[in-house]
Symmetry: C2
Subunit: 337 residues, 2 copies
Amino acid sequence: MTAPVVAVVGATGAVGRTMVSILDERGFPLSSLRLMASARSAGGVVSTRWGEVEVEDLAHADPEGIDIALFSAGGSRSREHAGRFVDAGVTVIDNSSAFRMDPGVPLVVAQVNDDAAQGNPGIIANPNCTTMTLMMAVGPLHEAAGLRSVVATSYQAVSGSGQQGVDELMNQNTSLMPAPELLIRGGWTEPEHTVYRRPIGFNTLPFAGNEVDGGYTDEEMKLVNESRKILDIPDLMVEPTCVRVPVLVGHGVAATLRFERHLTADEAMAVLSSAPGLALWKDRVPTALDSAGIDDVLAGRVRETLGEPGGINLWVVGDNLRKGAALNAVQIAELLR
Amino acid sequence: MTAPVVAVVGATGAVGRTMVSILDERGFPLSSLRLMASARSAGGVVSTRWGEVEVEDLAHADPEGIDIALFSAGGSRSREHAGRFVDAGVTVIDNSSAFRMDPGVPLVVAQVNDDAAQGNPGIIANPNCTTMTLMMAVGPLHEAAGLRSVVATSYQAVSGSGQQGVDELMNQNTSLMPAPELLIRGGWTEPEHTVYRRPIGFNTLPFAGNEVDGGYTDEEMKLVNESRKILDIPDLMVEPTCVRVPVLVGHGVAATLRFERHLTADEAMAVLSSAPGLALWKDRVPTALDSAGIDDVLAGRVRETLGEPGGINLWVVGDNLRKGAALNAVQIAELLR
């Protein structure tokens, strides 16, 4: 491919804006950049290293001439428009969940299962942000010892719900902060909320996504099904619990991992130390704030299991807008060159 | 025992103050109340339903005549003073970790293992707040199906570190809130912190307590050892991960439970529905804020395991100052009457 024409679809959202800045930061060798969004945001002009770019209305945008389109405009827009882009010869890298479990669509965590992107598929799916973060540590450990089961409990940031999630947390913090004693002793007034079903300010909300089967949420089932597909372990046992916490950026996951063979903490740390795209912190505890704005996913608290021996407990945290979404999409695009 | 003389030791701390208000709320039939604290806080006067009570200096307070002393003044003060209280005939209910694992000291979660409090021991220990919250759901399920293993991941509120934890979160929120874009893209300035080793405002900090063996913290080992003692399962397998979140009150725990026999979600919910001191929320998701200021521990998100069948995934959250500390101590005192 000569320098490709790249489009960012959903360019005005939190992930879309991050995609544009990551293309810039990495000096992605594109010949021209096109930006698309819904009619509401169309017509605006965005300053980029490739000049002033006017945002096109996705509904009427002609995909002709585009080589790679990074979609982050939600599942329904992906379902509506990805097909016509592919028909026009575009490779679509889709950040929504629309096509992830389609057997014909590769689901790629760059630096973990790059090979899946080969063969020029029309659509390549970008995994769910929580799954992605976990896979950066679990992929290399699976390679080393054969993963059998995962208990994964998440600490998800509000920017995973886009700018509206950020706004909801900031507004609730502002309204709740003046009366901490009511938060401690009870008697707080329910703050306005539209994004989440319960308040998120000063709160832990053990529910992310929408309920599907057996009391699990779609967010939790993504952790199960996407992990199985990415690692190519159809019968991988996953116990998922997804929880939203009052943090702006940085999805954390606490995981208990069991393998075909026993792993010591030292072996696991040796594997993680050389894992690409992952930084193992041994002397400092990696937190959500540490992960914000950086490319590496951070791992820490690697411990041998205390009960049934041979497993590993660990913590992993990553920027949900970058590696969890926009960075991985750009990395997939780099694999295509 | 006729109406007892009750002392609250550590009366000016977050838990001690809650002890006094819970004694009041429950109309605890005490004949007189004594309050004690360190020299720094001694001399102050507290208004109670039993009149104005002057705070005595613990170091010089005479335990003579006290029937029950509720200690919440930290482990070193408990170790220093509990013995002389017991020698004077006082029953000490101790909220610190000082005596919890002493084989001669009962470790009691009221409404779960009340029988352990019998036999007039000199000291009865109040469990760790995270363990306590978890036990309120796990105790009844163990009774029903025989617990084999627990993976427990916590979401701990800053008031678990006392008023200083509350102050640290509020101060950091105030200093970080004006520049959310730095929290999102990186470049935030490290806020002042003395209570926690890393910032807690807008952050997830996967480390609570102090490091002990194998990379685990003392807080995590409490979950292991105290659960074994309370449930009387010496070989219970526990995988603990303790994480601090930017919440004022309400310790949450996500747990994966496995039993001697298979449990369905319906069976587990039937057990939890009739568990004393626990409220099972089926139609609403119980959050940390919901638990603040109430006596019941809240349980929800009861799901059958997706991997190895027959286990239960659930969420439990409780007020760490009340059931997690002060309420349970008062409930133990009620068992003694």
